[in-house]
Structure formats: structure tokens, C-alpha cells
Symmetry: C2
Subunit: 187 residues, 2 copies
DNA sequence: TCTATTATTTGTCATATGACAAATAATCAG
DNA sequence: CTGATTATTTGTCATATGACAAATAATAGA
């Protein structure tokens, strides 16, 4: 779990002893391509840490799927709305390729947070970073054209050309066809 | 500072002694209608707590203003991107009416966070709540029509009909004229 | 209260993007 | 390798919303 170890060290700013205290609470889980880590209609009761692969978070509305986020190694996530409220999640989490994630239950996480300052800091920074990133997204929706939003994501996310268009376009907030045309123009 | 006291008690789940420890670190600031709490081009080095009134956060692009958020009594905010990175903020903060806010500098806030578990909890919950709310916004941008976004905001925000349209429409992600027409249809 | 300023509504027309469908292209399972 | 499935591109047309401007309406300062 090299990637996670580095990321946890980086986020917490802590030494290896403190980091190991955290790591030993995490349970590994391997996912085949297409496997679900969590389905809409259940309650998010775990935090997830990605070691390898990629996980897509999406919700369904009508007949369509909308991608909320795509996570890559080193990233930490959950459906925070469900996790905090205890209500049913509307989010599905699906492995886009063979992946390895580590998980911790809410119970364990809460306990660890009271004991470990390093862990506490990781969770806080994770939400802070997520908030700042999401803010940029909202700004882009408010004041950018579709092609500008595409550019922005393309510059920041290495997965933009790696996974099927249909997963990407809803993240950018446009249809597949439009994304295809935007991409065609850029060549 | 009744409103803030209640909110801080609620968020921290702490007793009055712990709450008072926090309150005594806050400095009051009164704003006339139209006054700026902070301007784009400066660094966000404070957290703000609203006791009374309303504060609008917006950025400028081209000749236009885009409202990012409108805060009302009990709410806690800053431009987190600038606050965390130390880089220049693109956000302006303007009082929509005569307001009273309490402020704390980053230095004091950081120190208080190490000393007071209650304060730490407040900051964490504030970001968590903000993140969840922002997520709902993004989902609305992805999968709702303009009129649906309007409805959603109208149901959640009591300020929707209280302040000028021009401040509201960019928050919803549409033009003033479109918002005016949407509103006309609803009657 | 009156006038000037600012905000909102409404009209007309333009345009970015969506909807739907068909044609290619790429990928995958046997 | 090959056919079947899935993904992408491309065409045509529809539509929600924007752009701009003018007409009202509301608000605020003297």
C-alpha cells in the first residue's frame, strides 16, 4: 500500500509511527472492473482509500447516469451526505478498472479520529480539498462554456481520455455527442 | 451575539464554558449596506461569522459578476481556496444590508483549533456541511433545467425573493431575464 | 414628494447545446 | 480471429436559454 502510505503521510504531516497506527485500521478490498463498491439505496458507512485503479461515483436520474467524481490512487472518499446524515445514499460507486481500495467503517473512523490527531487532520484536509475543488466546478458551471469546461477538466484530470466518453460527459455537464464534437474541434 | 452563540453551541455540541472560550477570540465588525468585507486580489486570512444581516460572495469575469454564495445569520465562511493556499482571492464579499459579522484571524484560528476541541469540531462541521450543500448544487447544474434549479433554490433559501434579481440569477446559473421569465410563469 | 437612478419585465432574434437516429469505429468474448 | 456488443462520431433538426434593447416598475436621495 505504498501509494496510500505516502498520501497519508503527506496529508497528516506525521511520522511513520502515527501513519502505521492509521494503516492498521484499514481493511483491503479488491474490485474487478465493473464491480460496485457501494450502491444507491444503501447507507454510506465507510470511508474509502484508493490504492490502485479508479472508482466512479454516479447517480441515476430518469434513464441517465450522471458522474459526480472519478477517484484515482491516493484519494479518499465517501458519500458524505449519507455518511453524515445516516440517510440512504443516491450514489453508486463502481470500479472503472481492476482496483484496490482500503476501507474503514464509520465507527472505527470516529473512534480513530478521537485518538489520532494525524487521522483527524487527514479527514479535515480531505474535505477541505474536496470543497475547494468542487467550488471550482461550480464556478465553471456558472461562467464557462461547455468547451471551456472540457478544457479545464482535460487540464486537471489525467483520466479524461482514459475512460469511456459516456462516463465523462455528464461530469462536464454535457451530452456525449456534444463532448465528441468539442473534442473533434480541438484536433 | 445571540445567534452565533446558539449556532456555535449547536455545531460544537459543547457547553457554555467551551463556547465562551471561542467567543472571546472573535472580533466584531459592523458593515453598512454595500460595504466590502474583503475584496478580490487580497488574501483571505480570516474566518467570518455572521451575526446579523447578509453577505454576498461573488467573483467577476469579464464585465459580469457571479454570485457564489449568500450568507445569513449563524453562518461561518471564508474563501477557503485563498485561506488554505495563501494565494490571492478572486472573491469579493459585500454586505447586502447593514450587517454584523465577527472575525478571527487565521493565526488565532489555527491556535484555537489546537487548544479547543469544540472549535475544531465547528470548523470541520462547517466545511462538511458546505461540501454537502455544494454537491447538491453541482448535481443540480448537471441534471436540472434552469426552472428546476430555481425551484430548488427557492425552496431552500429564504433570501431568494429578498435581494435584487441580479445577485440571484448568476447563483442559479442563468441570466436575469431568464430568471424573470421563470418567475413570471410560476404565478 | 419629485426626479433620477436602478431593477425588472418583456419583445425579438440568435445560438449553443440537446434529442434522436444512423453510420463508423473500437472492444470483447468465445 | 471473428462476429457481436459497445462506444464514438456525425447528421439533421428542435429547443432552452442568451443577447440585446426598449418599456415599465420600483427605489432612493434631494
Amino acid at each position: 500500500m505504498e501509494v496510500l502510505k505516502n498520501e497519508i503521510r503527506r496529508l497528516s504531516g506525521s511520522n511513520d509511527a502515527a501513519v502505521d497506527e492509521i494503516l492498521k485500521e484499514l481493511t483491503p478490498k479488491n474490485l474487478k472492473k465493473g464491480a460496485f463498491l457501494q450502491r444507491a439505496g444503501t447507507i454510506s458507512q465507510r470511508y474509502y482509500f484508493i490504492e490502485k485503479g479508479a472508482v466512479r461515483l454516479f447517480y441515476e436520474k430518469g434513464m441517465e447516469e450522471f458522474t459526480v467524481w472519478i477517484g484515482t490512487p491516493g484519494q479518499i472518499f465517501t458519500d458524505l451526505e449519507s455518511y453524515l446524515s445516516g440517510q440512504l445514499s443516491r450514489i453508486n460507486m463502481e470500479a472503472l478498472e481492476a482496483s484496490q481500495v482500503y476501507t474503514i467503517t464509520k465507527d472505527k473512523s470516529d473512534k480513530l479520529a478521537t485518538q489520532s490527531n494525524a487521522y483527524n487532520t487527514i479527514l479535515r484536509r480531505t474535505v477541505e480539498i474536496a470543497f475547494v475543488n468542487l467550488s471550482k466546478n461550480v464556478i465553471s458551471f456558472q461562467s464557462d462554456q461547455a468547451s471551456e469546461r472540457y478544457e479545464r477538466v482535460a487540464n486537471e484530470k489525467d483520466w479524461l481520455s482514459k475512460y469511456p466518453l459516456k462516463y465523462i460527459s455528464s461530469f462536464i455537464g454535457i451530452t456525449q455527442s456534444s463532448l465528441s464534437r468539442i473534442r473533434a474541434k480541438k484536433d
